[in-house]
């Protein structure tokens, strides 16, 4: 039984959430990112579905990594990912139908989200299942984080609300949970449409780069003073 050290765990998570963030650093898997990030609820739902698919597929890929000949690893990985996504698609259709109605067409797209295959090939195929699942969850959460921030920005700018559509997830009773951040707002169509996603993502990437550059400058200054 291989255990994971606290240090390794921290490193994998930091990589997924910040250093190698899927959305704003690797810029991978943008198709669902741009399509579904028009509200927080949509973004979070698809993000969590992606985390789940990534964890399951990385775990599965890692468990069979020693049986898969190198030449056919990609078809086998794609097969595993596609099967898992279809299982999740059917399960969501059966058990959480309202969310399925919103996300339905995007769930199969998780298969084509290259970040899932990228993590399977770049990490899971070379590491122990435990590490692989943690890496997948970290990467997925990093993507979810970007999705939710993007969803929040676009929803506030586009509709003046937060958490609209939450009743689709938690039932009619959740309707009052919708926050009207900007009352009497008439909406800003551009933010809801695809260009809004590109603009908001661009801003996020810029913000991330700025924060990173500032942190590096501080480290260099501190080193110079020492």
């Amino acid at each position: 039984m291989i255990m994971i050290t606290r240090e390794e765990f921290r490193k994998i998570f930091l990589n997924g959430l910040w250093k190698q963030n899927t959305g704003v650093v690797q810029i991978l898997g943008l198709c669902p990112l741009l399509a579904i990030s028009n509200s927080v609820v949509n973004a979070l739902s698809l993000g969590l579905a992606t985390v789940f698919v990534m964890a399951a597929s990385s775990g599965a890929v890692s468990s069979v990594r020693n049986f898969v000949p190198h030449e056919i690893r990609i078809p086998v990985f794609v097969l595993i990912i596609a099967s898992l996504v279809t299982v999740i698609d059917l399960a969501m259709n059966a058990f959480v139908h309202p969310i399925y109605l919103v996300l339905g067409i995007f769930i199969p797209l998780i298969t084509t989200n290259c970040i899932v295959l990228a993590r399977a090939d770049a990490f899971a195929a070379k590491n122990h299942p435990l590490h692989s699942v943690i890496d997948a969850v970290a990467m997925g959460l990093g993507l979810t984080l970007v999705l939710v921030v993007l969803g929040g920005l676009r929803e506030i700018a586009g509709k003046g609300t937060l958490f609209s559509g939450i009743d689709l997830v938690f039932g009619e009773a959740a309707k009052p949970w919708v926050l009207h951040v900007l009352p009497d707002y008439h909406g800003f169509l551009l933010a809801i449409l695809p260009p809004g996603a590109f603009i908001a993502l661009g801003l996020l990437i810029a913000a991330r780069n700025w924060l990173n550059a500032r942190a590096e400058r501080r480290v260099r200054l501190a080193a110079a003073h020492a």
């Binding site: 049986f67 399960a91 059966a94 139908h97 909406g187």
Partner: protein, 211 residues
Amino acid sequence: MMKASSLNALRTGAVLLVFSAVGTALLASTFNATRPAIEHNEQEAKLALIRQVLPSTLFDNNLLGDARSLPADDLLGTRKPSTAWIARKQGEPSGLVLEAIAPDGYSGEIALLIGIAASGEVTGVRVTAHRETPGLGDYIDIAKSRWIEQFRGKSLATPPGSKWKVHKDGGDFDSVAGATITPRAVIKAVKSALDYFVRHQAELLTPHPAQ
């Protein structure tokens, strides 16, 4: 040398075959396990939509069991067969729900579900699919505004045919300034569906369910 490489190819193929077989088995069993729940959900969703256009006081039959296929018709805007659900109260036909399409929306077709009582009065209309501009033409969707509810209680006699237009064109229906193409298409489609109903009423509202 040749032998080793062909053996290797065979082994690789076998591995791929095993993975495909496991994947297929997984999918087949999940499909079977979830099918009843999925079918139930789809029926429920359809019925929930139908209940929005046809008040439940108007029927006591199993609507989904009394569906019939209608051939494509210009008045319904359909190019493929559509479905009509016949409502009955104590066995007597009391109305129906039609699928119709408004072909001339701002960005393509608008799919509608129209409930009509036996008297020829509209009991409700819902948009089931559209690609109208978000925030502009999408107020025909009940999720965005109550605009679509103004059809309830209307018939070919009230208002008269010449008034089945938006206010801007001299008719009786509201619309949002700057987005009149969409409501025009919907109003026209609902009126044509009523024309269709009047023309085919006798064959649609038969005393006994179609076999």
